[in-house]
Symmetry: C2
Subunit: 309 residues, 2 copies
């Protein structure tokens, strides 16, 4: 019997209880899955960073913390955590993100907002350039960023991608490091942020870096709110350096009702819906990691704690 602690907000339990049980059974694992165990009896911790479990030291025999979320910034620096921490990577999360990013890039590329606002009986045909003439830059080429980049490349966007370490993707001009960041951003018309939040990426989009973009550029952020210097963003929208920002993530969520992003004519707020972990596919990832742990095989998607993602 393998004891798996489900340590997330109670609302998640209903969504995961049956799908996790089915996934463990499908792997041939005999699991006792509960929301409560004596800590010293727990073998694996299925974990959401907003869980009440913040001190991992009593979990003396636990083999891994299996994160339910892709983002780990609220757990990776927990000094009480000495066992492997695995990020969530699952098909539904990636597919949902590809759909959201592709949809909003095309929305801005095609000028759909302006079209929706022009239903007044006047026939004003305006043809957008082809995607091959539109400069799009993706910051972050991890699991999610590279999947989005492949789809945007299939649509033939003039696509650049930047990551901390060198990556190569067909149809994408890739850049890395500090010098590469300037090259990737210079002249970009649509920029998508899909970076993890780390000390190195916090406030990455400063006033200076925003000034490198094409005049009237659009910023799309489904990554993490703190990647952007909010004051610099508002100033760039004011001057016209940026024409629009579509933001799915914020420093404080829910975004407070009096925040200047709400109702701003050049900002679209979406309530952190770009993608979510889907219970069916996420449960399969978790069951596979428990199987690996029991078989003594390496875990999938282990977070590199020194790089913090």
């Amino acid at each position: 019997m393998i004891n798996v602690l489900f340590a997330a907000k109670p609302g998640s339990w209903d969504a995961y209880r049956e799908t996790l049980a089915a996934a463990f059974a499908a792997k041939g694992l005999t699991v006792d899955l509960r929301q409560d165990f004596p800590p010293e009896e727990v073998d694996y911790i299925v974990y959401a960073p907003n869980s009440s479990v913040q001190d991992f030291r009593p979990y003396i025999r636990a083999k891994a913390v299996l994160n339910l979320w892709a983002g780990v910034e609220n757990v990776v620096h927990n000094d009480t955590l000495a066992i492997p921490l695995c990020r969530m990577v699952e098909d539904g999360l990636t597919e949902g993100m590809v759909e959201w990013v592709t949809g909003h890039v095309l929305r801005h590329h095609l000028g759909i907002d302006a079209c929706l606002a022009q239903q007044d009986g006047q026939w004003r045909p305006v043809y957008p350039p082809l995607a091959r003439e539109r400069r799009v830059t993706m910051l972050g080429l991890g699991e999610l960023g590279s999947a989005c980049a492949r789809m945007l490349a299939a649509l033939k966007f003039d696509l650049s991608g930047w990551s901390r370490t060198e990556r190569s993707i067909d149809g994408v001009k890739t850049f890395s490091g500090d010098a590469g960041l300037r090259a990737a951003l210079t002249g970009a018309e649509i920029v998508v942020l899909l970076l993890p939040l780390t000390p190195a990426t916090e406030n990455l989009m400063t006033a200076e870096r925003l000034s490198w973009l094409a005049r009237g550029a659009v910023l799309i952020n489904p990554g993490r709110g703190a990647l952007i210097d909010d004051a610099a963003l508002l100033a760039a929208l004011e001057t016209g350096r940026l024409s629009h920002a579509t933001l799915d993530v914020f420093r404080t969520e829910p975004l407070p009702p009096d925040h200047p992003f709400w109702g701003h004519p050049k900002v679209t707020v979406t309530p952190h819906v770009a993608s979510e972990t889907r219970p069916v596919t996420a449960s399969m990832t978790i069951a596979e990691n428990v199987r690996r742990g029991e078989a003594g095989e390496p875990f999938l998607h282990v977070v590199n704690r020194t790089q913090a993602y």
Copy 2:
């Protein structure tokens, strides 16, 4: 010297004059390109159906009519036309259509309109289903329809496709014929029309066929306006059978200012911008067909006059 008549509205001449000359030169062809010739001296007619040329009988030595547009319904039934008629197929037209169709399918799939309307400070996360859970049906699997279908399949939509004659596309459940039409439409949540306009497709979307769709379905028409019975469409929007229609083409264009589609809360009018022929790429298609005609090779994209497309 090959005499090529440019028979389109004068406004097109500026867009095409130089790109056509460059394309002929690139093929090694010595061409005299003009807007006016004695008809009996013309070798090829570059043609837009809104041209003043409507009687082809005086063009006694002309080898082909090379249409500037993808649609041929306004020329194909011209009884004075006895030489091959070639449709326009060019990369820009196809790419633009793929971008427009993918953008509007994702717009409706993701619920972007509702999101744009909810900028009031209230955090209301609603997750759309994954594309793999969304039933999309493409009517028409010609050059444009099949290119769009391949992109929607890459996004993993639950995709059906229908065409008059049997077709096969990876990732698409394909149907054909009358019985196939009902199967393709039944339960569809998003329907895209990319059929040519022929006697067999005029008013294809009747009240009965609209009633086969999923309740609250969305209709997207970048094909031809007369594919839809407009009164049936307005009635289906009224009853909620359809939740929205995004229409790029109309029986009368420009759409008259007093038409009920304008300003209708469940209709988005776009002014025939889903795709257009791009001069650079279209000129290459035309030059290739002139080269083929001079070399005695078969023309590309010849219209089957009995099927009328």
